[in-house]
Amino acid sequence: MTATDLPMPGLALVPRTDEKQSAKDFKTDQEVRWCPGCGDYAILAAVQGFLPELGLRKENIVFVSGIGCSSRFPYYMNTYGMHSIHGRAPAIATGLALTRPDLSVWVVTGDGDALSIGGNHLIHALRRNVNLKILLFNNRIYGLTKGQYSPTSETGKITKSTPLGSLDHSFNPVSLALGAEASFVARTMDSDRKHLTEVLRRAAAHEGTALVEIMQNCNIFNDGAWEPLKDSETSDDRMIRLADGQPVVFGKDGSKAVVRGEAGHIVVADTSEVDPAEIIVFDSHADDPGLAFALSRLADIHSLENTAVGVFRDVQRPAYDRLVREQVASVQAQGEGDLQSLLRGKDTWTVS
């Protein structure tokens, strides 16, 4: 089953094309200027490879970005695009999405852009549930300014601005998004093309704000930041792949399971030592975000043990832009405005 067979309420008003598209159609003539080996290349290829299956008219797709390495992304997409200013892409994209329901609007951002300077816009976009798809490239470092720690860097990180180790406690982007009332939250990996594409499909179909955290490697300033999740030797033991309707088990041969602990919180246990009925069954569509939040908290920010990936939350909540349009339409249904009577007002007098 391809994504185009799925219902895509998030794209319901975006015009389709019958022309067959390929990844090539979404490439520009601009030379891609990320560092060789950067994880951004893989994400760009995945997005260009997946967009054709949506069958949208390419002129109705817009990529808006902020500032940072990831935010160069729009220059390389042969759609409409805006490379804006630091942290503000969600605000700019909100204005665009509110006024243009016929566009598929994507925000490309990074951990510094979205979670530091632009944190306020991010949380408010999520709570409003504007029809935007936000791709957050998380490399846990400032790349474009050459290597300072970011809000997702682990505490104690030695960087140019923290020679004695950073003192900041870090954000967990998934936890933050769930706390900000997000209706769609996912986490995936730059190098896992299949998983990344599946997540992008579900995000595109979602009506409202979708936050997709993409764990991305900066091979210059923070190389190997996600390596424990990428190395086939260690990844199975660390990564929890969430799947709807499935018990949450991971590790080699499913040796680990997530179960309810004594105080109601969730814990990781040996699968062999628990009653299979006690293993938590995952549901991204659950109204209550509690389990998704708890799963996001299992991850250890240093060792990356128990890092869950996949779609944490995918629920339907009326999109803000649709509500705005409906409110305007309901007023206009009772009669459109007449400029002359507006200017005249209620209390006038005539001088003859």
Binding site: T28, Q30, R57, K58, E59, N60, V62, V64, I67, P74, Y75, M77, N78, T79, Y80, G81, M82, H83, S84, I85, R88, A91, I92, A93, T94, G95, L96, A97, L98, T99, R100, D102, L103, N120, H121, H124, V324, Q327, V328, V331, Q332, Q334, G335, E336, G337, L339, Q340, L342, L343, R344, G345, D347, T348, W349, T350, V351, S352
Partner: protein
């Protein structure tokens, strides 16, 4: 109302100031008196003056709220420097306003509030009504509260509700004293209290009791009348600046066919534009109350990118936050209207008071060479035309435009000749629909006349392109770090803004004598006070010319010529000389700066004597 037998004395003009506690309903009282006065055909100008606190402690000086109204049988230009009549509802209102009164003025005082406790609250050691403080005024000491309560004794309402109607008693008395019609106020009360019949009846009764008191009391020997002012024939209404500005934006949206999108964050004194526009969804207006100032302008810019008429509204502190996005709009070359309703600064400053100290912020408050056209209205009603003009420039030249209103224009009112919607000009957005360069689309290939770039909105097939805040190659719009290209682009953006001068009218000079050697040059809300000062000078036989700038960037093409035609140029401003700095820098004119930065509208008296001094020094 019965007719009265008292003599009616004609007056040319009167300035009344209603002053009381924030909870006394002075703004409402002033508004109602203004409405009746407008309906009568007087020319008028109003000045609400209220504290930033919503309810400062009752009876204290910070809690005093006032409303000043100047009305006349001839055209007037200001709300008046000083009141002829002060209505003081409590000791705090008296104390806060007494310094503005000339000897012999009328003081209507609510004696019920002059209790020991209330006097102590404002440090009156003795009662000014009794200790001779007010000997030089015509004092009308009236128990407004007690008389209101007595008049309402038959009503089934609380004592508190009865006391609250005292502003209607005062309004009734003033309406009698100045022969104002009453039906409008009664209709207004009926609408306001439609769901509370007892309160409605009580308010009407208080209003009528105030009127009857004037008629029967021996305190007032005469009543006054101010005849209608001769005005150009037409349909008029009274209007304050913020709604006029909102209407100008809606009109521009209608005349351009672009949907209006407002991204805004609440801030005094600009919030009323957000409130007003949010009421007009029937025009397809979308109003977005953003999470902060930056998101407000960001969303407006995003909407503009999509082909809407993007607007953001704020005051000075908000402009500071929006600066980076204004710079992005300069770089993207997209239409955007940025409204700054200026207030006293720096920092939080005086939120409810007026000032025009954001001119240099509007002009230069961005990183890099980021020229932005600036338009400023001169009166409350002119906010309509200025907003329409800002939209014309923004759309035609693909540029952010700063519209500099101020707190006085926002809340002050004047009679406004209702514009004829059908005769408003069309604004052509001229969207790009076709490739423009060898089958490709170049987003920065300019119109040779306006230097504006094509506006291709998402959804237009074949014109997919990327824009951003990085420097762009001339024409193609691709990222370019080339030194010569940057130098060229910096000059091009400047030249585009300068080219706007070709589309605006010349700076006009008002010099009835034709012999003036002194020019007074102003901008913004000082127009009325400067005009009044010039009239006063001329009335004394002095020759003075007045010119007023609507466009602060670029200046009208003939500005240098106008300035050089005079021996002296005086520039009055509610700042420390910001326009003067620009004029001196741009034209090498040794302008004389005259400044008042009191948070209040410019007053004319002192300015007139300054002008006379300059004339006499020649």
């Amino acid at each position: 109302m019965s007719t009265d037998a008292k003599a009616v004395v004609p007056l040319g003009h009167v300035v009344i100031r209603f002053a009381g506690d924030s909870g006394d309903g002075m703004q409402l009282t002033g508004d109602r008196f203004t409405s009746e006065t407008a309906g009568l055909g007087n020319d008028l100008s109003t000045l609400p003056d209220f504290p930033a606190e919503i309810r400062a402690p009752a009876g204290t000086l910070p809690g005093v709220s006032a409303f000043q109204l100047h009305f006349a049988d001839h055209d007037i230009m200001t709300p008046g420097d000083r009141p002829d009549v002060l209505v003081a509802m409590n000791p705090a209102a008296l104390k806060a306003n007494l310094k503005d009164l000339r000897a012999g003025c009328t003081l209507i005082v609510n004696t019920d509030e002059f209790t020991k406790r209330n006097l102590e609250k404002v440090d009156y050691a003795s009662n000014p009504l009794e200790d001779g403080t007010l000997d030089s005024y015509d004092v009308q000491a009236i128990g407004l509260t007690s008389m209101t309560v007595e008049a309402l004794s038959g009503f089934d309402i609380t004592k508190k509700d009865a006391e609250r109607a005292k502003n209607m008693f005062a309004l009734g008395l003033l309406c009698w004293l100045y022969s104002r019609p009453t039906q409008g106020t009664i209709d207004f009360l009926k609408a306001k209290f439609a769901k509370k019949p007892e309160i409605l009846a009580a308010n009407i009764a208080a209003f009528e009791a105030g009127w009857s008191f004037g008629e029967t009391t021996e305190s007032f020997a005469v009543r006054y009348e101010v005849k209608p002012a001769p005005m150009r024939a037409g349909l008029y209404r009274n209007i304050t600046g913020n709604p006029a500005l909102a209407y100008g934006l809606i009109a521009a949206s209608q005349q351009s066919g672009l949907p209006l999108f407002l991204g805004s964050y609440p801030i005094t004194p600009a919030s009323d534009i957000l409130h007003e526009l949010s009421k007009h969804k029937n025009f397809g207006v979308v109003t977005f109350q953003a999470e902060d100032e930056i998101a407000g302008i960001g969303a407006a810019l995003g909407a503009a990118y999509g082909g809407a008429l993007g607007v953001t509204t704020t005051s000075g502190p908000g402009i500071a936050l929006k600066s980076e996005t204004i710079g992005l709009a300069v770089s993207l070359e997209l239409p955007l209207i940025v409204v700054d309703v200026q207030r006293g600064g720096p920092s939080t400053g005086l939120p409810t008071k007026t000032e025009q100290a954001d001119l240099l912020q509007a002009m230069f408050g961005r990183n890099g060479e980021a020229p932005v056209p600036i338009v400023a209205p001169r009166s409350p009603g002119d906010c309509f035309d200025a907003a329409f003009e800002a939209a014309r420039i923004a759309i035609t030249y693909r540029t952010p435009v700063l519209l500099l209103s101020d707190g006085y224009l926002a809340n002050g009112s004047e009679p406004w000749a209702v514009p004829d919607a059908a005769s408003l000009p069309a604004i052509d957005p001229g969207f790009a629909t076709e490739p423009n360069h060898d089958g490709e689309f170049w987003p920065y290939l300019r119109d040779s006349e306006t230097l504006a770039r094509p506006w291709a909105v998402p959804g237009t097939p074949g014109l997919e392109h990327r824009i951003g805040g990085l420097e762009k190659a001339d024409g193609s719009g691709n990222i370019s770090y080339d030194p010569d290209n940057h130098d060229h682009m910096v000059r091009l953006r400047q030249a585009k803004v300068e080219a706007i001068a070709r589309s605006i009218g010349p700076l006009e000079v008002d010099d009835p004598s034709g012999e003036a050697r002194v020019l007074v040059l102003g901008w913004g809300s000082t127009y009325g006070p400067i005009g009044a000062a010039c009239r006063a000078v001329r009335a004394e036989g002095g020759n003075v010319a007045q010119a007023h700038l609507r466009h602060l960037n670029p200046f009208p093409a003939n500005t240098a010529e106008v300035l050089r035609a005079y021996d002296r140029v005086i520039i009055p401003e509610m700042n420390l000389g910001q326009l003067a700095l620009l004029i001196r820098g741009r034209f090498l004119v040794d302008a004389i700066s005259y400044n008042q930065v009191r948070g209040m509208p410019f007053t004319s008296e002192e300015l007139a004597s300054t002008i006379t001094d300059v004339i006499e020094s020649l």
